[in-house]
């Protein structure tokens, strides 16, 4: 019982920076929603139930254009497919105490950042830790969306734009220290950056949606890494 409590607390603490980053990013998401005629409450419900930046941005665009549900399903599937890779990784790191029903809860909040922090956690993942880790980011993401929609137009654009960069800063903070220690990670990360730049700038390739290009870059770079630098048998159980 006591360990559950401390696991939960550790999770909460690890979730604070994510929650702050989410608050900033979802704030700008709320501003985008208002422009698409989505109310603050509807936007907050979307954020609470979806918890995905790229997916929601795309969803808002489809709603604004009055798109079909098929279009919505396909777009969400492609943009969010990377989460299935992350869930697959996560399933390998779960504690033996995590049963089927507990997995149903953990799956809900498996976002990019929560996944990255969970994989960096030094121990196997328990339900109390994961619930602690997810709670504040969920609150931050939902509250940020709501307040962004409400405050839309009141805030200087320069401030909200600068807040956007926080999310990328967090990504950099997750990858760089590992890449510094492990050369294969640095090479895989560099390959991913190179491929992603190709998809961004090269004509024809740049027609491919952002969600799909992330999937392709991730699969290609991680496969090259797995072929060139297979991990040792217990390397993933840090």
């Amino acid at each position: 019982m006591k360990t559950n409590k401390s696991e939960f607390r550790t999770g909460l603490k690890d979730g604070i920076p994510i929650a702050l980053g989410y608050f900033a990013v979802s704030f700008s998401l709320g501003i985008v929603m208002v422009a698409a005629n989505i109310s603050a409450v509807d936007g907050a419900v979307m954020s609470l139930t979806n918890l995905t930046s790229a997916g929601e941005f795309a969803g808002v665009r489809i709603i604004a254009a009055g798109g079909t549900l098929i279009e919505m399903v396909l777009t969400q599937f492609i943009i969010n497919l990377r989460y299935s890779l992350m869930s697959l990784s996560l399933s390998q790191k779960l504690d033996e105490s995590v049963t089927f029903w507990k997995k149903l809860i953990i799956a809900f909040g498996n976002t990019d950042e929560i996944f990255a922090v969970a994989m960096n956690h030094q121990k196997s993942l328990t339900l109390p830790y994961m619930v602690g880790l997810q709670s504040l980011p969920i609150v931050g993401w939902t509250a940020g969306t709501f307040l962004g929609a409400v405050a839309s137009g009141l805030m200087p654009e320069r401030v909200s734009i600068a807040m956007n960069v926080m999310l990328y800063g967090m990504f950099i903070a997750i990858v760089v220290p590992v890449a510094k220690k492990a050369k294969p990670v640095m090479i895989v990360a560099s390959i991913a950056v190179g491929l992603s730049s190709l998809f961004y700038f090269v004509p024809f390739l740049k027609e491919i949606s952002a969600g799909l290009s992330i999937i392709i870059c991730t699969i290609a770079a991680a496969s090259i890494g797995a072929v060139l630098f297979p991990i040792k048998d217990n390397a993933e159980e840090k």
Partner: protein, 102 residues
């Protein structure tokens, strides 16, 4: 169409993508290739999402580049997520205040 139908569809698709691989896979994966692949996925994915998009996320590319450089330096020094994220954001804000930069 009611917006809640859209939201429901989005939420269900996204949840299934997250839930199915987590619940269907039992036990440890034996293939060394797949375990290696999964180890590299987060780093590849985060970097593919960050670059080059980050350079176009601020009001000027110079501000974004400054933010990225500050983030990388602090991350190399082993600073925490929050410090790095805030410093990058503040750098972008300060550089964007310099007159004449668009």
């Amino acid at each position: 169409m009611n917006i809640y139908i859209y939201i429901l569809v989005m939420a269900v698709v996204t949840y299934l993508i997250r839930m199915l691989p987590l619940t269907l896979i039992r036990g440890k994966i034996k293939s060394r290739f797949i375990r290696s692949f999964l180890y590299y996925v987060p780093y590849a994915c985060l970097m593919a999402m960050t670059f080059p998009a980050v350079f176009f996320s601020a009001s000027s590319m110079l501000a974004a580049i400054a933010g990225v450089i500050v983030a990388i330096i602090l991350a190399l020094k082993g600073k925490g997520l929050m410090t790095v994220a805030l410093a990058a954001s503040i750098t972008v804000f300060l550089v964007s205040l310099i007159p004449g930069l668009i």
